[in-house]
């Protein structure tokens, strides 16, 4: 049974529709990440759940109770913010204790709970330090302990790691997941970092223009994107625009090359489609005469990503990205003529609509990830 439900949430800011009827259903103890680019409405959705904003339409139901009109201080939602939000006038211990004081808990109970939580986030020795004496990562740990202290019904995390450096981010996200599993707390996590979302969540909901494009398990989101946007946003994807020329064989013509795609057999002749191929599945070798499902082209650039190197290849006007082991990539420097074998037979195919494809700035993962 669903523990947290967002039913048809709509939020308009003047002419901008920040949320356009989103539906989410999350079971108790589950971890859902709202993932999307800036301005997609993910933080708006989180703020509605927290009660800091009211929806124009729709309902928020927690454990069967409608909390849409309940004030934020009556909702029992623990929240960790993107900005450092510790109260500067209070020590780490006093910050964690704040919510318990508001609830009128006994001094002994408060002390024990604070000790337990500081221990849980690995800051048992830093309880007497003030926020200005803590690093960014430590501040966010205290903020997490503070949010957990009140035993919230739902834990809300609004890009809590975005201000931290890469190494601390990875470390802390794993800790968040560990704590979440340990306490079994229902969690809603907002992030624009797909790697973060995929690595810690039970479910991921990709949002775009105020709508949920797709929601599912991380592996499913990666391997079977349902829309061109999801395909582009989750991981890096080659998107080859083409036309089905022969449904009986599954032939799709793209950039002067004919690919045989199994999924194209279900499409009518002349259908405009998008062939989706992950860069890590492209096999690149020195040009040796094109075979089936192979594009011949020239290596334009190399991008060093640590264990792999990303090659950008141009072929009859089409651009292709391929990831290959760094040791092998050295043999194919920019300017080399190459054959790129595409695993097109099992490639995913999406119908191409008249709507322009979203452009998302490509951000290669840092070295060592």
């Amino acid at each position: 049974m669903a523990y947290l439900e967002l039913q048809g949430l709509v939020r308009d800011f003047g002419t901008v529709k920040a949320l356009d009827g989103i539906e989410i259903s999350l079971g108790e103890g589950e971890f859902l990440s709202l993932l999307g680019p800036s301005g997609c409405g993910k933080t708006t959705a989180l703020r509605l759940v927290a009660g800091f904003d009211r929806p124009d339409a729709g309902r928020i139901v927690v454990d069967g109770k409608d909390v849409t009109r309940v004030a934020p201080n009556k909702r029992d939602m623990g929240m960790v913010f993107q900005a450092y939000s510790l109260f500067p006038n209070m020590s780490a211990r006093q910050n964690v204790e704040f919510g318990l004081r508001i609830r009128g808990k006994e001094r002994g109970d408060r002390r024990k709970r604070v000790d337990d939580l500081l221990e849980l986030v690995g800051l048992a020795a830093a309880g007497d330090r003030y926020p200005y004496q803590l690093s960014g990562g430590m501040q966010q740990r205290v903020a997490l302990a503070r949010a957990l202290a009140i035993e919230p019904r739902v834990l809300l995390l609004d890009e809590p790691l975005s201000a931290l450096d890469a190494k601390v981010r990875v470390q802390l996200r794993e800790e968040i997941r560990r704590i979440q599993l340990e306490l079994g707390i229902t969690t809603l996590y907002v992030t624009h970092d797909q790697e973060e979302a995929l690595s810690v969540s039970d479910h991921v909901a990709v949002m775009y223009r105020g709508r949920i494009e797709q929601m599912g398990a991380p592996a499913e989101m990666y391997s079977a994107p349902a829309t061109p946007f999801v395909a582009e946003f989750i991981g890096t994807m080659n998107r080859l625009e083409g036309t089905v020329v022969d449904p009986s064989t599954g032939a799709v013509e793209t950039g002067g090359v004919t690919l045989i795609v199994e999924a194209a057999k279900a499409k009518p002749r002349g259908a405009r489609v998008l062939v989706l191929i992950r860069p890590e599945t492209v096999e690149v070798a020195a040009a040796n005469g094109a075979g089936a499902n192979t594009m011949t082209g020239e290596v334009l650039t190399h991008t060093f990503l640590g264990p792999v190197t990303r090659l950008r290849i141009t072929s009859s006007g089409a651009s292709l990205i391929a990831d290959m082991p760094t040791a092998r990539a050295a043999a194919l420097p920019p300017g080399s003529k190459v054959d790129a074998a595409l695993p097109a037979a099992e490639a995913r195919l999406l119908d191409l609509t008249d709507e322009p494809l979203p452009e998302i700035a490509e951000e290669p993962a840092p070295v060592g990830r």
Binding site: A50, G51, F52, A71, P72, N73, K74, R75, D76, M77, G78, M79, F81, A83, Y84, S85, L86, F87, P88, N89, F98, G99, I102, R103, Y130, P131, Y132, Q133, L134, S135, G136, Q139, A143, R146, A147, I150, L156
Partner: protein, 268 residues
């Protein structure tokens, strides 16, 4: 590594000395003058200081002005802290409007202000109109408005009002608890700065008190100045000392908070 302080140019010492002399010589002259005996005009005696201390008018007016200052500070804080908080949180578009309004007391001369206020409050009860605790405090709150507003505004701008408020609410705190336990302690230095400026204004305000015929410390100072030359110098220095004591305490508190603010900025 030890940082070496940059050496000051020789000309800088000259300018520093001139600046110091500009402020110090009049004070020194006033001090020496205050040591002269009232009857003979000869140095050196603390008679003028004794005259001031043993004058009941001094203590009475000092008490009146000090209490007026405290009342002005209390009303100003109660009025402006929630207002500026709300403007920063909910209607930031109104901030420039408030800033403009805060400049009005600088532009309107006190004489115009007091005439207008006397007219506006003419029909009010005597306990308000005829008492300094009523009418005069209203005028002083208006005079303190710019100092209080700009101090508080700077304080609110130095903290993340939105996030702190939302964090407090998410932990179950009400608006009042959030304001008293979270926001106010973090704008303490700004509230103190505004309060001390308000204190300095009230302790030195003459025009409005005189025109509305209330007997306050500046009125007493003026009276002594007209009638007793040497004690007037002593009284001037003593009021100067009172103001400086307030300013130094502000500096002391502000420096402690400033160091912490620097750490905060560095950590972000």
């Amino acid at each position: 590594m030890r940082l070496r302080m940059p050496r000051m140019a020789p000309s800088a010492y000259i300018w520093l000395f001139l600046g110091f002399a500009y402020f110090f010589i009049p004070l020194l002259a006033t001090f020496l003058f205050s040591l002269d005996k009232n009857s003979t005009g000869k140095c050196c005696t603390l008679h003028s200081y004794g005259w001031v201390i043993h004058n009941p008018g001094f203590w009475h007016t000092l008490k009146v002005s000090f209490l007026l200052a405290l009342e002005t500070i209390a009303i100003s804080l109660a009025l402006f802290v929630p207002t500026v908080y709300w403007v920063h949180l909910k209607v930031p578009k109104l901030r420039p409007v408030l800033a403009f309004m805060a400049l009005i007391p600088f532009v309107v001369p006190p004489i115009v202000l007091v005439v207008g206020l006397l007219d506006v409050y003419r029909g009010t009860p005597a306990w308000f109109y005829a008492k300094p605790w009523g009418f005069l405090v209203v005028a002083y709150v208006i005079l303190a408005f710019p100092y209080m507003f700009f101090s508080l505004d700077a304080g609110f701008r130095s903290i993340d009002v939105h996030t702190l408020t939302e964090a407090s609410h998410s932990l179950g705190a009400s608006w009042v608890t959030t304001l008293l336990k979270v926001i106010l302690p973090n704008i303490r230095a700004a509230a103190l700065a505004g309060s001390f400026l308000a204190l300095a204004i009230v302790m030195g305000e003459f025009t409005i008190a005189n025109l509305s015929q209330f007997y306050t410390f500046p009125i007493f100072l003026q009276y002594v100045n007209e009638t007793q030359a040497y004690p007037a110098a002593a009284l001037t220095l003593m009021s100067f000392g009172i103001t400086w004591a307030a300013m130094l305490s502000l500096l002391f508190i502000g420096r402690k908070r400033g160091q912490r603010a620097a750490f905060l900025t560095g950590a972000r």
